[in-house]
């Protein structure tokens, strides 16, 4: 039966003080009048309250439902009425109150409907897991980590460990549980083994509990005999008594020689480790269908007249326990929940027993005298010698004290398990663990702050990125628009060019326009005609420029009709030069025209007699002018070729008419 065990670094041998509470067997207390149930009895999120004040609840009824994955259900430990849901003093070391459901018991102990499972081997593992989850079971050794999370691991488990070490002085609840209910514990282990299917089941028990070891060996033997088909046998391993061998990481190292990686979980090594009380609760949940509503708690301390282990309903106030163990409450110097190494001192006797309360110590100032004042650290290294995590507490102390969190982290502050071995041996009475808790808090705080600033930075960067994206999108749109415009212009230019080309192909129109306008016979219209000619020339050269630009653009864009355009441009060039020529020819005319004009006016006067002719001439002139204007307007508005032709015909007609009526009027342009 002897199995190889390994040693962890350091460790201490504090006075055991276990004998006081092992003489009596586990007993029960009368039902308390009031049960106070804190919503937060485990690591993780507090549950969601399902009852309200005034509701009558039955024993085992669900009071609060787990909220989130790492959370646990809470059930009524006895039947009665919910009388309050409010903040009450709870088991937290800070002494801060927490939200509690208060039940006034009716003494009937009336159970709600429960569903025991006759043969769990017929069940599905997931169903069993759900049963355990529903029963609200958490790690009962002290941490209170929801058990279904541990059991529900997705990793392959090769070793299931029952942590029955109970290395803390004073506490004997697991010891008594094993002595009296070994078979049930083994049954619980078999259930877990059925779910996890490990290769081996190891039970680590400190060698200061020979009765428990014997009881467990017997029960394991019987279980193997009774169930030859059980998944695997249970091996009971007696481990040397040394604190803190009951730490999860330490018991794993003792039994397997492996170390849980820093920041990792035992399941990373294929190991799941459970506390005795937890396994027993799992068995009750599965076999009896009862949720976790009570636990074994050790009542001890030199003020307790009847020390021993008590099966106590969750929510029972400590004062009730003190009263029924005949404890002189007025002499209490320190009231501790948990062991003397890692437990915390309670401020009030009204704090209730919770799922993790494995021990209550009521001590006077003889048993736990106040620590003497802290002396300077002389770096003797006693702490480093006993540290089970192989840290250098003397260095961590300096860095935590001076808030040098980078250095503290470098010295692996976060791997401290707060076992208190260093404080225990410190010759200078330095409360090292307290400094480390503070240091860890600082590390977490700085992490939160770093995260916050990281998030802020990410937000800022995202914001920047968004702005840049928006700007880029805008820019892109703008460019698209510009390209579209260019395309449109190109099209327009093309259309114009085609039109111009058409005009060029029919040069008479343009030329005639120019010539006709320069042929403007009317004195009054001579200046206007010149203007027209000028504007025609400008327009022609403008068009030529535009066409050239369009060609360039087209060249750039690689349009396929470049050759056509080029042709058109050549034509336009000719046309523009023609127009200019026409203008040049026309330009000298005003000088001649002015005398002609002055001549014309007297010339007109003698012919006043022929009024009708004059009127007709005027009418014709107006017609010419109108036709001219229409033609120009049509040209300006890029009217179609037919319209232009039609207009120019009109113009010609009007001009002929004018010539008929006013033959005397000088003709400019062509005449010269």
């Amino acid at each position: 039966m002897s199995r190889n065990t390994w040693k962890f670094h350091g460790g201490i041998h504090p006075p055991q003080n276990k004998q006081q509470s092992v003489s009596a067997s586990i007993r029960q207390l009368p039902l308390p009048d009031k049960l106070i149930l804190p919503l937060q009895q485990h690591i993780g999120a507090p549950g969601k309250v399902l009852v309200s004040v005034g509701d009558r609840v039955l024993k085992g009824q669900l009071l609060a439902q787990a909220k989130g994955f790492v959370s646990a259900n809470l059930h009524a430990p006895s039947s009665g009425t919910v009388i309050d849901i409010s903040d009450q003093p709870v088991q937290h070391p800070s002494g801060l109150p927490g939200k509690c459901i208060v039940i006034e018991t009716d003494g009937k102990e009336q159970w709600c409907e429960i569903h025991p499972i006759d043969d769990y081997r017929q069940m599905d593992a997931t169903q069993l897991l759900a049963t355990i989850n529903n029963a609200g079971i958490v790690g009962m050794g002290g941490a209170g980590f929801p058990s279904h999370v541990k059991i529900g691991t997705q990793q392959t488990i090769s070793t299931l460990i029952l942590n029955a070490v109970e290395c803390e002085p004073y506490i004997t609840s697991d010891d008594l549980l094993m002595r009296e209910r070994a078979a049930e514990i083994i049954e619980g282990l078999q259930i877990l083994a059925f779910i996890l299917n490990p290769k081996e089941i190891l039970v680590g028990i400190e060698d200061n509990k020979p009765e428990a070891i014997a009881a467990m060996r017997r029960a394991a033997q019987e279980s193997t005999e009774a169930n030859p088909g059980a998944p695997c046998a249970v091996t009971i391993v007696s481990v040397p008594t040394i604190y803190p061998s009951g730490g999860e990481k330490q018991i794993i190292q003792i039994l397997t020689g492996k170390e849980v990686p820093s920041g990792g979980l035992p399941s990373d090594l294929g190991i799941v480790c459970h506390n005795t009380g937890t396994v027993h609760a799992i068995r009750n949940a599965v076999i009896e269908g009862k949720p976790l509503i009570s636990r074994i708690t050790t009542m001890t301390g030199n003020l307790v007249t009847d020390p021993g282990n008590i099966e106590v309903l969750l929510g029972t106030p400590v004062s009730h326990l003190l009263q029924h163990t005949r404890t002189s409450a007025n002499q209490i110097h320190r009231l501790i929940m948990g062991g003397p190494m890692m437990g915390f001192s309670m401020r009030s006797t009204e704090i209730p027993i919770v799922k993790t309360s494995n021990c209550i110590i009521a001590a006077d100032d003889q048993e736990f005298p106040d620590a003497p004042p802290e002396q300077p650290c002389i770096r003797c290294g006693a702490c480093a010698e006993v540290c089970p995590a192989k840290l250098l507490p003397q260095q961590l102390f300096f860095y935590s004290k001076s808030k040098e969190i980078d250095k503290a982290k470098h010295y692996n502050l976060m791997d401290c398990i707060e076992c208190g071995a260093c404080s225990f041996v410190c010759p200078s009475q330095i409360p090292l663990v307290q400094y480390f808790r503070f240091g860890k808090g600082e590390v977490r705080k700085s992490k939160i702050e770093t995260d916050k600033s990281d998030r802020a930075r990410m937000r800022f960067e995202a914001h920047q990125e968004r702005l840049e994206k928006e700007a880029a999108a805008k820019e892109e749109k703008r460019q698209q628009r510009a390209a579209a415009n260019a395309l449109k212009k190109e099209k327009q230019a093309k259309a114009k060019l085609e039109k111009e080309a058409a005009e060029a192909a029919n040069p008479s129109t343009a030329a005639s326009t120019a010539q006709e306008s320069s042929n403007e016979p009317s004195n009054n219209d001579a200046d206007e005609a010149l203007e027209t000619l000028k504007s025609n020339a400008t327009k022609a050269s403008k068009r030529y420029q535009q066409a050239k630009k369009a060609l360039q653009m087209a060249e750039k864009n690689g349009a396929d009709n470049i050759d056509k355009l080029r042709e058109k441009i050549l034509q336009l060039e000719t046309k523009a030069s023609d127009a200019k020529k026409a203008l040049k020819e026309a330009l000298p005319s005003p000088a001649k025209k002015i005398p002609a004009k002055s001549d014309a006016t007297p010339n007109n006067t003698p012919k006043e007699t022929d009024t009708s002719a004059v009127i007709a001439a005027a009418t014709a002139r107006v017609k010419v002018k109108k036709a001219q204007n229409a033609l120009m307007a049509a040209e300006a508005s890029d009217a179609s070729q037919e319209v232009l032709e039609h207009l120019s015909t009109n113009l010609n007609t009007a001009r002929t008419e004018l010539e008929q009526h006013a033959p005397s009027e000088p003709t400019t342009g062509e005449a010269q």
């Binding site: 820093s262 437990g343 001192s345 009030s348 002389i378 770096r379 089970p388 192989k390 040098e404 791997d415």
Partner: protein
């Protein structure tokens, strides 16, 4: 009813800094007795003077620093410093030597740096180095060892030597009946191109290993040191490293040229070797902190002692070697951090941001 809230753990081992210091003092007893036997009453006078001075200085500085005087005096750290310094001082050194040295150690080496636990240098060795530099004559003049608890010199004569009114007389007085230590003598002789054969010839070297009386004094300190290791007041790493460093170098040189270099045994049991290895270098405040670091620290002290003894200007070197390594201790700590549980390898060097 409300109770005081106290953080865990709630129980403590019944040990205290004062207890550590008291056991340290107890461990010096064999050495003190050996010194008393061979060099007479002087050592007791020196210890008395030194302790009185140290306690007065400590009280005075604590008063100036507005700290609780009784509380700090009760930790015995001042007494330990005083005794260690007194053990290193020649028994017939004039009274003012020990007074100046002790007060310098307490005020400058200990309290100016912040008192117990904050001093980077070993206060006793700072005091010793200060004295050795300032008063080389008085600090290197020892009586020849005689045995019988100084019966031949006598209490009165010793007291007269120590408290003689005129310091100038000392020099002439000394020459009459004092001599150098074996280490000193060996150095002088070797410098005069003598060979180590003189170790067998001269009176001063007539002990079983390393000079009359001195070897026994070292054996006595070795016994005291073993007591400390057994009581877990000190760990074995520093003394073993220390003796290994000194021994390896001494062995190498004496194997190479036995005529010019003394044997490791002579070095181990000569001068202040054992006192240094078990009582001086092991001062935890100024030493390296991890086990590996302590071994390296001790080893380097040993090497330095040999180098200074053999090639340096001073015959013995514990004080200088220890002070130099005090300076290096933080660096040693950076590179000797142990591998913590759950880590693949130990962290090295200084902390990085966001490591």
């Amino acid at each position: 009813m409300a109770f005081i809230s106290v953080t865990s753990p709630h129980s403590h081992r019944a040990n205290s800094t004062a207890g550590v210091m008291q056991q340290l003092l107890l461990a010096t007893l064999p050495g003190v007795l050996a010194l008393f036997w061979f060099f007479g009453w002087g050592i007791l006078v020196q210890i008395t003077l030194s302790v009185i001075t140290a306690v007065l200085c400590e009280a005075g500085i604590l008063y100036l620093r507005k700290k609780p005087i009784a509380f700090y005096l009760k930790d015995y750290s001042a007494v330990v410093t005083a005794v260690l310094l007194a053990l290193a001082i020649p028994p017939i050194a004039p009274w003012w030597i020990v007074v100046i040295g002790t007060s310098f150690a307490m005020v400058f080496a200990k309290h100016l740096y912040g008192g117990l636990g904050s001093n980077p240098f070993n206060p006793a060795m700072v005091g010793y180095a200060f004295l050795l530099i300032s008063f080389p004559l008085q600090m290197t003049t020892w009586l020849p060892s005689e045995g019988n608890f100084g019966a031949s010199t006598g209490v009165e004569n010793t007291l007269q030597l120590i408290f003689s009114s005129s310091p100038a007389d000392d020099a002439s007085n000394y020459d009459a009946f004092s001599g150098a230590t074996p280490l000193d003598e060996l150095k002088t002789q070797l410098d005069l191109d003598q060979s180590t054969d003189i170790l067998q010839q001269q009176d001063v070297f007539k002990g079983f290993i390393a000079g009359a009386g001195w070897d026994w004094v070292n054996v006595a300190f070795l016994i005291g040191g073993c007591f400390l290791i057994w009581r877990k007041i000190i760990s074995w790493h520093i003394p073993v490293g220390f003796l290994a460093g000194l021994g390896i170098l001494a062995a190498a040189f004496s194997l190479y040229q036995p005529a010019q270099y003394a044997s490791p045994l002579f070095h181990w049991f000569g001068g202040g070797c054992m006192l240094g290895a078990f009582f001086i270098a092991t001062d935890p405040v100024s030493a390296a902190t991890s086990d590996k670091g302590r071994f390296i620290y001790g080893f380097l002290i040993g090497l330095l002692i040999y180098i200074i003894r053999t090639f340096g200007g001073y015959p013995d070197a514990v004080a200088f070697a220890v002070l130099l390594l005090n300076l290096a201790a933080p660096t040693i700590d950076y590179y000797t951090q142990p591998r913590s549980y759950g880590h693949d390898k130990p962290n090295r060097g200084t902390a990085k941001k966001d490591s």
